[in-house]
Symmetry: C2
Subunit: 265 residues, 2 copies
Amino acid sequence: MNEKPIGIFDSGIGGLTVVRQLRKVLPNENIIYLGDTARLPYGSKSVDSIIQYSINNAEFLLSRGAKYLVVACYSSTSVALEILVQRFPVPIIGVIQPGVRKAAVLTRNRRVGVIGTSLTIFSGTYEKAFKAIDSQLQVMGRACPLFVPLVEEGWLEHEATEIICRAYLNPLKDDDVDTLLLGCTHYPLLMKAFRKVMGEINYVDAAVEIGVELADDLRTNNLLNSGGGGKLSIYLTDLSMNFKEIGERFLGEPMTTFSRVAIGV
Amino acid sequence: MNEKPIGIFDSGIGGLTVVRQLRKVLPNENIIYLGDTARLPYGSKSVDSIIQYSINNAEFLLSRGAKYLVVACYSSTSVALEILVQRFPVPIIGVIQPGVRKAAVLTRNRRVGVIGTSLTIFSGTYEKAFKAIDSQLQVMGRACPLFVPLVEEGWLEHEATEIICRAYLNPLKDDDVDTLLLGCTHYPLLMKAFRKVMGEINYVDAAVEIGVELADDLRTNNLLNSGGGGKLSIYLTDLSMNFKEIGERFLGEPMTTFSRVAIGV
């Protein structure tokens, strides 16, 4: 039994969709979430900056006693995961590999579609991760920069959302992918719209797969908190006008305790 | 004659639409542009942070000899303009007041629509600025958070753009506004789509009005650079993957000289 918290960070509040999933599958675990809202979005920052911010974030969570780190930010996972793993003494899981492993298992025709923000897709990280598992997999990546603002606007089933989904996803449909990997924490909220365009294929939600792998790993390494706990602490580096409303949409429960902290300054 | 540069800052590269306009009406002026890309978007930051960042930006431009400051950022103008004016010894113009003055002159039925990002609209700054000129004006504000990502995606005449424009603008049409003030540096690129929805009403582009007022003011105060000059220097606090492509769309000319600088750290 280990009462220390799981530490999880993202550039903003999108990573709360991962927290939501972790609280479902690991209800006894204490969780510390750090959203670096003062410096979001990482996707428009340079690689150097993203690495520096990621190190700052990890250091903050470790200073709070984290026994395990979850990097819920796609930009950080793309460019900084290996550096964090080398630098820090706790196990670290990124937001990319669990979904990749699941998609590689699910696909029958070995054509997988991946959707994400521009940086995530253009970085080629997903392609590399898939190729490491199965060099014969065909990976079709599509950058979908309008999905995040659509989700934040709350237009989950708007007429415009369906048209934008078709514009982004039709090329993947034409390519006959049988598995779609959602490569951004915001995207699970658009599942209904994705299904309308892509039909009954396999959908892989990274947050679900992180929960599965993390639970396995905690169990194997005897790191589970089998006792009480279940405490969630949320830290944000800046508080915007509507973070609570949007955050609760991601988290699926009221945000009761949150604090503003200064990181890396 | 005064060869010192005009200093202009924005949270990102959207303010280059203002630079474009200044270079059109004041071709002899030297211009220094500072885009605080490392800390964008200001709209999701707290008021305290926006004030601090704005002071940092102004100090940088003054350290480079700016004779005049243009605050091309709506968030900064909303919450920090008065503080900057009190604090610094050069004339300072914001991005809000010139458009307001023009719209107040143009409207016949005294119903003006204003569109902008969420912070700009919800801050109430526009309403206050209009009321200071004419307390009888009816000001209808609409937050349009999807317009910026649409412009950055380059979907200026996409089917989705028209639907999103209708969703945002129809309430203003129903309210019978005869003048629409574009309260965001990105929006002039969507003019064609706006006209399709709103028809032949008055459109006010803040960048154009800043150019008019600035030229007047430089002339009146004998600050014009009547000699050669016409040099443009662009400073950004971080360089993202696609800043050059998007920046040139705003600027309307190639971005030849740009540097990365650290501000306020």
